[in-house]
């Protein structure tokens, strides 16, 4: 089985090479690239699914001419689960992309998108399969590079170039942390092989350092606040199916890395859990608030990735606390919820991004304020977007609810079971999740309502049309999977039970069972039944009554226009004001002045505090420092020669002064 799984990345690389060869013809390249991805994912999904359910463990080692370790790959439930996510989301994204890329046909070469997409998938799969730090880092770097080239696919747009550079900086910063992390671990264990690393006896100090480095290094890719700054730029910049892939699974590689390291590091102290809870809470709340402030649909979704990563981190935090507080069941719930949310987020975020892409393709804009009423022109996309929205808000009967529910239960139980000092953190998780949920619901009422409901706010929105079969199909599959997990949580739990138990340090075979999960499908059933019943009742009542169409009640105003509709900005305002600090609010007001005021302006801007107030100034400072250093090369040769003389004398004095006495 492992052999087969290892063959898949190779197949993908071959696909990439093939589509590079036929790059001259966009059409053939599109066919080749998509087909390759489809075949691979078609094989990969069932294989990894079986691997997860069978909880198969296996490993392979190959030799290596370089003087560092060996090629060591392996599969275990954790890897298998993430493989499943990768192949599932990638497959869907590939299908969608086949349709979506047509929008570019003729305007630019499609080859880059078709070469680097399989490469990215291959790299992610390798990251998950690697059992040696070097292999992991190599795959990690290739993943970053491939995704970078996908991000700058439309490299003639300046904002895309800016996003690209920012992304590059972020991934470099992250990978430096990983280098240090693994070098430290390797130093302690004398090897980069995970088997040796997990066996290594680490001093608490080293373990803590490793944990923090992992949070920083993997967190940059995952998009923990405040390391998320690259994310809201990079995801919208990329072509939609890539955004779906990046947001859906690539940032989860950070989560995978973190979990893998946690497995290697041994029993965690309680404060690790608190750190994760803090990170998760801040990321979740800041992410959703910033999402509320966005008017660019894809940017909004990108910020929701930060939010969902926050939820995942909260789950991991509960898990860690559960382990350290000797409450394995709580830990199990936390980790299970976190990991199930990884899959769920992959599904519904992919769905939402794809819907956003369809909208962009249909209307040529992502600006929420100029959309509206699309539910009539794009019924399928609209309905699917609604499904995605309900799912991402963590509402029943869809998958988002299940994973958040698991974390909630974990937190509730932990609140009752932890040692007095630590219960508070568990309750904090409950509160944070509640707030995130409430804000997310508001945000997606806004997104869905302003984009799909009401009257079109611009001609573009008026001329929208439903998107092609490939794109609709891809979205439909994601939606169905969201519903499936939502109504059959017991089945979904089996995907994460083993690895969650492992992370919760529960001995194999003693995997806990959650009978209450059966209540969720029952509730869903009742809900559906009630809804249909009520619909029937209404139909009966209205059967021989007058049902009229009329204009919307304008409160007495005779000539309402589409521009009078409530805007996204004004919708979000009352929610953002209380959090003006986190949301980085800026007021731009120019009141009417003079005896005969001509114009007045009032605008409220919300920005990303981490980016604007922390990183940008630091960046400027560094650049300033460097420009100072560049003064050394001033062109005066005499001084150049003086450098030599000074260096010579300095080094001589350094070396000889020590010996002068002898």
């Amino acid at each position: 089985m492992l052999g087969l799984l290892l063959a898949l990345p190779i197949l993908l690389v071959v696909t990439a090479a093939a589509s590079a060869v036929v790059a001259k013809s966009d059409r053939i390249a599109r066919i080749v690239g998509t087909a390759g991805c489809l075949v691979t994912c078609g094989v990969g999904v069932p294989t990894s699914l079986v691997a997860v359910l069978r909880a198969s463990r296996d490993e392979i080692r190959y030799g290596w001419t370089l003087p560092v370790g060996e090629l060591h790959f392996g599969i275990d439930p954790l890897s298998a689960f993430f493989l499943l996510c990768i192949f599932l989301v990638s497959g869907i994204a590939a299908v969608y992309g086949a349709g979506y890329l047509l929008a570019y046909a003729g305007r630019r070469r499609l080859a880059p998108a078709l070469v680097f997409f399989p490469l990215l998938v291959a790299a992610m799969a390798t990251v998950v399969l690697a059992r040696d730090a070097i292999v992991l880092i190599i795959a990690w770097e290739i993943m970053s590079v491939a995704s970078f080239f996908l991000v700058i696919f439309e490299h003639d747009r300046p904002e895309v170039r800016r996003a690209g550079v920012l992304y590059l900086i972020a991934s470099q910063a992250g990978v430096v942390c990983l280098f240090v992390l693994f070098a430290l671990l390797g130093r302690a264990a004398g090897s980069f092989d995970f088997d040796r690393l997990s066996g290594a006896a680490l001093t608490p100090g080293l373990a803590n350092a490793a944990f923090l480095l992992a949070v920083a290094g993997f967190g940059t890719k995952a998009g923990f606040w405040p390391l998320h700054v690259w994310l809201p730029d990079a995801h919208p910049a990329a072509p939609t199916h890539v955004s779906a892939l990046m947001s859906g699974v690539m940032i989860k590689m950070g989560i995978y890395g973190l979990l893998r390291i946690l497995l290697l590091l041994g029993p965690p102290p309680s404060w690790w859990g608190v750190v994760m809870i803090g990170v998760g809470g801040v990321s979740g709340i800041a992410g959703v608030l910033l999402a509320l402030a966005q008017h660019d649909l894809k940017r909004l979704l990108a910020y929701h990735s930060v939010e969902n990563i926050g939820i995942i981190a909260l789950g991991i935090g509960i898990g860690l606390l559960g382990v350290s507080q000797r409450q394995p069941f709580v830990g199990f719930l936390g980790f299970a919820g976190a990991m199930l949310h990884v899959l769920n987020h992959g599904l519904f975020k992919g769905l939402l991004f794809q819907a956003a892409g369809s909208i962009q393709k249909a209307t040529g804009t992502r600006d929420i304020e100029s959309l509206g009423g699309l539910l009539r022109t794009m019924p399928v996309t609209g309905a699917l977007f609604l499904v995605g929205s309900i799912a991402i808000c963590g509402l029943p009967p869809l998958n988002g609810f299940v994973s958040e529910w698991l974390v909630f239960i974990g937190a509730f139980l932990g609140g009752a079971a932890f040692a007095p000092g630590w219960t508070v953190y568990a309750i904090l998780v409950v509160v944070a999740l509640a707030l995130i949920g409430g804000l997310a619901a508001a945000c997606f009422v806004k997104a869905f309502g302003i984009v799909f409901l009401g009257e079109p706010r611009s001609d573009r929105a008026l001329q929208a049309h439903e998107s092609g079969a490939a794109m609709r199909g891809a979205m439909l599959v994601s939606a169905l999977l969201c519903a499936a997990i939502g109504v059959w949580p017991a089945g979904a739990l089996r995907l994460v039970a083993r690895e969650a138990a492992e992370l919760a340090r529960i001995p194999a075979g003693a995997g806990p069972s959650l009978p209450m999960l059966s209540a969720i499908p029952r509730a869903a059933l009742v809900l559906a039944a009630l809804a249909t019943l009520l619909t029937l009742v209404r139909a009966l009542l209205l059967r021989r009554r007058a049902v009229l169409r009329a204009p919307t009640w304008g409160c007495g105003y005779a000539a309402p226009t589409a521009r009078m509709q409530y805007t996204a900005g004004s919708f979000a305002r009352p929610l953002l004001e209380p959090f003006a600090l986190i949301a980085g609010a800026r007021l731009e007001a120019r009141g009417p002045d003079g005896p005969f005021p001509t114009s007045a302006r009032y605008a409220r801007h919300f920005g990303d505090m981490a980016g604007e107030r922390v990183f940008a100034p630091a960046y400027r400072r560094v650049l300033h420092l460097f420009s100072r250093v560049r003064g050394l090369q001033h062109g005066r040769m005499q001084l150049y020669l003086a450098y030599i003389l000074i260096t010579l004398i300095a080094l001589l004095v350094w070396q000889l002064s020590g010996l002068g006495g002898r």
Binding site: G635, M637, Q638, L639, L641, L656, G660
Partner: protein, 217 residues
Amino acid sequence: MSGISELLLLLVVVLDLAILTSTRLTTCIRTSALQGVLLASLPATLLFEAAGRAPLHVVALGVFLLLLKAFAIPTLLFRAVRAADVQHEVEPFVSLHVSVLIGTGLIAISFWLATVLVLPRLAPSAMVVPAGLSTLLLGFLILVSRRQAVTQVIGYLMLENGVFIFGQLLVREIPLAAELAILLDLLVGVFVMGIAIYHISREFDHIDTERLTTLRG
């Protein structure tokens, strides 16, 4: 008795100072030529004092040195000066007085260094190390403080002379081939520099290297 070599070396140092203080390019060149003469006679002298007799190849080397340092190189430099037709060193960064002060300071440093760097074997002359070092450092000083390209070449020559003085301690260890190769390099080097100066003067109609500062950052 090693009086002559001591004297030679002392003179070399004096000539260093002389070059340091003179602003007329031609004077500088002549002085360095004179220094060349002294150095050319150094190896034979040293060996004569040490062993009472000087092997032939060393004498031959001396003659070659004479030709090189006292005639060939000065001629090249004169050519360059004529091409650029400049007479005086334009106002250097550090005024002459200051540079003399620094120069004496450098000489002092080199004498201190000579106390740290005790010659492992009985030296033919105690002056070798300090003289070599001070010639080297003063050459460096000129390189750093002067603006005319020609003067800087002279500084480079002084530097080389300083190194050459140390070389005198190893006359036997360095095969003639290597010795000749080194000297050939010196000749070609000065030759190429002369060409460069010619081009500079033709390109910018000055050889004030201070103005060659377009390449920055």
